[in-house]
């Protein structure tokens, strides 16, 4: 049960990453590797502030903001300096590795003594339900774990709803159109470069928010924690699309959350069954590869077959 609860909480926290990747990859069609650096940046900034005694809300917001700045930087490099989006992301990600080490002052910042959203959640759980284990569907769970899960759920839902509402405003609509048809957006008087920068800032802000929460949940920030995160985000987005089937905005965002949770559950089960943790990234990469290639192969098979 603890395992399930943990996977759910982690899935919800990383659903912010999935939403961020949805923005860059699905709306702007940019596989933005800045993600790997900005999730660590969010974690690093939040961790250092938390150790210094800043309140969890402020520290988390600062982490998200730092990620947004990193994303905007990648956007500027891509649009203003006409550098390929992938390369712009690689540059910023690489630079962020050093930045993150500087922010943290070392390669790992533990949060054991710090007051974080996780410790606050545990305190809240104990205040509401007492210290003893609760029984959910007959399984014992600690009130603290349950409260942390609830907080993660709230964060995911709040981010999803805010994002959905934002994408229905004038700015948000123009942003979505920028990914869909930049020529038209220019002809309708919107600065495509500006919206791309804004979009990457939004994406990486979400990713860094996810990183800030992740650090608090796992109890540390680490310079290596971002490696391969974009692929995890992609996996979640793809699973989400398979689940909800539709590309409509609301369903896609809900799908990213569901996909992230399901992905974490699958990972937890696989690890339980004895999957070597070292193989996790390899398997995720293979999964994303096949999810990207399979639809095309199937279409070709179908298109190539003689008409009946």
């Amino acid at each position: 049960m603890t395992l399930l609860l943990g996977a759910l909480t982690l899935g919800l926290i990383l659903s912010l990453l999935a939403m961020g990747v949805y923005v860059s990859f699905r709306i702007f069609s940019i596989p933005d590797i800045t993600t790997d650096g900005s999730i660590t940046l969010g974690a690093a900034v939040a961790a250092v502030l938390l150790v210094g005694g800043t309140s969890p809300i402020l520290a988390t917001a600062a982490g998200a903001l730092a990620g947004a700045v990193a994303g905007a930087l990648a956007g500027v490099i891509h649009t203003r300096f006409k550098i390929n989006a992938l390369l712009a992301g690689i540059l910023v990600m690489t630079a962020l590795y050093s930045v993150n080490l500087h922010v943290m002052g070392r390669s790992n910042v533990p949060l054991l003594q710090a007051n974080t959203f996780a410790t606050q959640g545990e305190r809240l759980g104990q205040a509401l339900f007492g210290a003893g284990p609760l029984h959910v569907l007959g399984w014992p769970v600690t009130p603290g774990d349950l409260a942390v899960l609830a907080l993660a759920f709230l964060a995911a839902v709040a981010a999803g709803v805010t994002l959905y509402l934002f994408f229905r405003t004038d700015v948000g609509t123009a942003m979505r159109a920028t990914g869909d048809n930049p020529q038209m957006v220019r002809a309708l008087g919107a600065d495509v470069d500006r919206y791309t920068i804004l979009g990457l800032a939004l994406s990486n802000g979400l990713v860094a928010l996810s990183g800030a929460l992740l650090a608090q949940y796992q109890g540390f920030a680490d310079a290596q924690m971002g490696i391969g995160m974009i692929v995890w985000g992609l996996a979640s987005v793809i699973i989400g699309e398979a689940l909800t089937g539709s590309r409509s905005l609301g369903l896609a965002l809900a799908g990213a959350v569901l996909g992230s949770v399901l992905f974490r559950l699958l990972v937890a089960v696989a690890l339980r069954w004895g999957l070597n943790p070292n193989d996790l990234k390899l398997i995720t990469a293979l999964f994303v590869f096949s999810a990207l290639v399979l639809p095309r192969l199937l279409a070709r098979r179908r298109g190539g077959a003689p008409a009946a």
Binding site: V171, A177, M184, G189, R247
Partner: protein, 270 residues
């Protein structure tokens, strides 16, 4: 209204692919005039419209529009004055977004975009009415992705979007060329209707002689990056399709003559 002075544009200068697409175009459009642009393939018609719209910055020349010198304005800034319909029905709309959302974008052309609700109720009301006016039955499908519509429907909607806020200048680049004859007729007469109703200053590129004689109040003919003929007023009204075809033949004959002369000179002196 629109004043073009000495426009010159060379693509890929100094390479084997060098193209002198505009070689000194001067043109003045009066307020409310509807100009048809004719010319052979590659004569620079699209380049001229793109230069006015700001898709690229000119090598030389000045563009004044509605009292502003817009020569160095980026495309999105000029869009506050210009409405555009492209040849390709896929160019003018965002396929993955709904009809209504596409119009929400058009309704803020050249205006600041903030955190206001894109599909505001008053926009939706006006939209339903205007789209119903197209008599294509699209008013009940405003939530459908625009990518699911036919080319003719998309061009009609793009025209409506381009003129939703009255543009100071309307640019139409072969906007019926990719359509079947029936849709093309529908879209061209809709264009004429909107242009007349709102008194829009318009530049329309076409390859159709029939459209050129039937619509507009002035015809310019381009060749090799220059304006070579300019018919207006009574002359434009008297013009028949055969006259235009004659002019094209004349251009072609002169071309062959030039090439013949060049070949002769080469034989004599090289």
């Amino acid at each position: 209204m629109l004043e073009l002075q000495g426009l010159r544009q060379t693509f890929n200068p100094g390479t084997v692919n060098e193209v002198r697409a505009l070689q000194g175009v001067d043109l003045t459009l009066d307020e409310g005039s509807f100009i048809v642009v004719l010319g052979t393939n590659g004569s620079g018609k699209s380049t001229l419209l793109n230069a006015v719209a700001g898709s690229f910055f000119l090598d030389e020349g000045r563009i004044r529009l509605d009292g502003h010198d817009v020569t160095r304005w980026p495309e999105h800034r000029r869009a506050s004055l210009i409405g555009r319909v492209f040849q390709n029905p896929f160019s003018g709309t965002a396929p993955g977004m709904s009809i209504a959302e596409n119009f929400a974008l058009a309704a803020r052309r050249g205006r600041p975009r903030g955190l206001g609700w894109a599909l505001a109720p008053d926009l939706m009301g006006a939209l339903r009415e205007r789209v119903a006016g197209l008599r294509m039955g699209l008013e009940d499908r405003l939530d459908n992705a625009i990518g699911s519509l036919s080319g003719g429907q998309r061009q009609a909607l793009t025209l409506l979007m381009a003129t939703w806020l009255r543009p100071r200048l309307l640019l139409l680049d072969e906007h019926t060329a990719a359509l079947d004859p029936k849709s093309a007729d529908q879209v061209i007469s809709l264009s004429d209707e909107v242009i007349r109703r709102d008194g829009l200053t318009t530049l329309m590129v076409t390859h159709s002689m029939a459209q050129a004689v039937a619509y507009g109040d002035r015809i310019i003919m381009m060749h090799r990056g220059r304006v070579v003929h300019d018919f207006r007023g009574a002359e434009k009204r008297r013009l028949r399709q055969e006259d235009l075809i004659d002019r094209f033949d004349e251009i072609r004959r002169r071309e062959q003559l030039d090439e013949g002369a060049a070949a002769m000179l080469r034989e004599l002196y090289v």
